[in-house]
């Protein structure tokens, strides 16, 4: 049995106007990874490759030790997949859906399903078409969680949900991780959600992984420095500086490798460091994407 829930190695998939390029990624069991990227970055494509809904052109994909797409059926017994655009049968009741899924999975946990029904304030006799968007999302999550999957693949599951529904969903996901053999890959362009529940964060943009690390590393290494520089002075470039913007005597430096040495280096170069700001995950994400695009353009 492997300790990795997900292994991607050199995975590529090309379309006419979009390509996923040379993606390599691992997710150990017991971890939550947030996959963050702007719209059209390739998050859904990546997750659909993991589900074998689309097949990679190149590269190796292993999910829970199974090679995909060849062993997709065996892998899917242990995967719970929810996507923002996934729908249930409108004329079926939630109870009918529950009985249908339970009839397939021997691992269906009926008491847990009942607990989730109460927690999400859903009723089995409700027809799916009568549910609100938030209720439908929770119903889909219930149908997936009660199977007790070892790996959860969630493609923007909180999109369009109100803050309360989003909170309920995230709390439930964190609860799943009490079992340390489970893993979650969670895609979103909402950095707040990702920051709240993820151990690891991967940024993706225009079909490429641009950065991947644990949450603390991102928060610790990224800083924004407010500097005052003498007139006519050009700031020197130091390793780890991803962006410099200067207006008159005031300069703002963004770095992904913050250390006290960097502050001293700017001081030695003649600048005065007025402020060192911590960055939110959203700011780190935007700075990361912009730096990556600039690097690729040059």
């Amino acid at each position: 049995m492997t300790d990795l829930a997900i292994e991607l190695e050199g995975v590529s998939k090309a379309y006419r106007f979009f390509a996923l390029n040379d993606v390599s990624l691992t997710l150990p069991c017991g971890q939550i990874m947030g996959l963050v990227g702007p719209n059209g970055a390739g998050k859904s494509t990546l997750i659909r490759i993991l589900m074998s809904l689309i097949h990679q052109d190149r590269g190796q994909v292993r999910v829970l030790g199974r090679s995909m797409p060849e062993e997709q059926v065996a892998a899917k017994w242990q995967i719970g997949y929810v996507s923002e655009d996934m729908r249930l049968y409108g004329y079926g009741t939630l109870g009918w859906h529950m009985r249908f899924v339970a009839s397939i999975y021997p691992s269906w946990d009926a008491p847990y399903a009942q607990t989730l029904l109460k927690r999400f304030n859903l009723r089995t006799e409700q027809q799916i078409k009568s549910l609100s968007h938030g209720e439908r999302a929770k119903a889909t999550l219930l149908l997936m969680l009660a199977r007790r999957p070892r790996l959860l693949l969630l493609d923007e599951p909180t999109t369009g949900l109100d803050p309360v529904a989003r909170h309920e969903m995230l709390v439930e996901l964190m609860d799943v991780l009490r079992d340390e053999r489970r893993a979650i890959l969670f895609s979103s362009h909402n950095t707040q959600d990702v920051e709240q529940i993820s151990d690891q964060i991967t940024f993706i943009d225009r079909g490429r992984i641009i950065d991947s690390s644990d949450k603390e590393t991102f928060i610790e290494h990224w800083r924004r420095l407010k500097l005052e520089v003498p007139g006519g002075f050009t700031l020197p470039s130091f390793a780890g500086v991803v962006d410099v913007s200067q207006s008159g005597h005031i300069a703002t430096v963004t770095t992904n490798a913050y250390s006290d040495e960097l502050v001293r280096a700017y001081g030695n170069a003649g600048a005065t460091v007025h402020e060192v700001q911590r960055m939110t995950l959203e700011e780190i994400f935007v700075a990361n994407v912009m730096a990556s695009r600039k690097e690729r353009a040059s």
């Binding site: 074998s52 689309i54 899917k76 997949y81 996507s83 397939i104």
Partner: protein, 224 residues
């Protein structure tokens, strides 16, 4: 283990399709009753044409309502989250749709032959009726194949339009064949070479349409 999942998918489709099946059977029998008990040539004509409409409606609703709509609404993502491969999903859909079509089709077809047998109608109409009904079957198989193998609403619409229009051409073509037109008024069913050729083309076409769809599905790399 997985055969049972595919079976459950087929049973699930049957459960979702039964109102359509029941409705088409009730309507089909009602139209045949009009043709049988109407008493005149006009009611027979109205009943027969309406009966044909019921078969076409069953075809259209079955494919567009369950296969194409399931793709469009992304309900397919829910089904594909279950432990089935994309090809197993497509095969289960093909089997359930075929059964859901063939059961009422065969029952209504048998009832139509019974009506011809019970009424003072020339039995020479039987081969013509069979050729027209088999066309509906061919139309269904092509529509099902295109909806399953393709992802284009445009292609589905094109098949639907051509399927409906070509039925008129087929009936006109059959009735302008002297051997068929003459035989259809006779007291016994005559299986002329032209009728047999039509039936052979329709049966073969149905099989080829489904086989071609499976061939495309098995080679597909992207299912969404």
């Amino acid at each position: 283990m997985n055969r049972s999942v595919v079976t459950r998918l087929i049973l699930k489709d049957f459960y979702l399709q039964w109102p359509l099946l029941a409705g088409s059977l009730v309507l089909g029998f009602a139209m045949l009753a009009i043709a049988l008990f109407g008493g005149g040539p006009i009611t027979f004509y109205v009943g027969s044409v309406s009966f044909l409409c019921v078969l076409i409606l069953l075809n259209v609703f079955l494919v567009s309502g369950t296969v194409a709509q399931e793709k469009k609404d992304r309900v397919m993502l829910f089904v594909l989250s279950l432990p089935v491969s994309t090809t197993q999903y497509a095969v289960s859909k093909m089997v359930s749709s075929l059964l859901a079509f063939l059961i009422p089709f065969c029952l209504l077809g048998a009832a139509a032959l019974l009506v011809i047998g019970l009424r003072p109608i020339p039995h020479g109409l039987i081969p013509l009726t069979m050729a027209v009904m088999m066309y509906v079957c061919l139309y269904f198989c092509i529509f099902l194949g295109v909806a399953l193998a393709g992802d284009s609403a445009l292609w589905n619409t094109i098949v639907m339009i051509f399927g409906n229009v070509l039925l008129n051409f087929l009936i006109t073509w059959l009735l302008t064949r002297p051997s068929i037109a003459l035989a259809s008024k006779g007291p016994v069913a005559i299986w002329s070479p032209e009728i047999l050729a039509s039936l052979a083309v329709e049966i073969l076409g149905s099989v080829v349409a489904l086989a071609a769809a499976l061939w495309v599905i098995f080679r597909k790399k992207d299912f969404l």
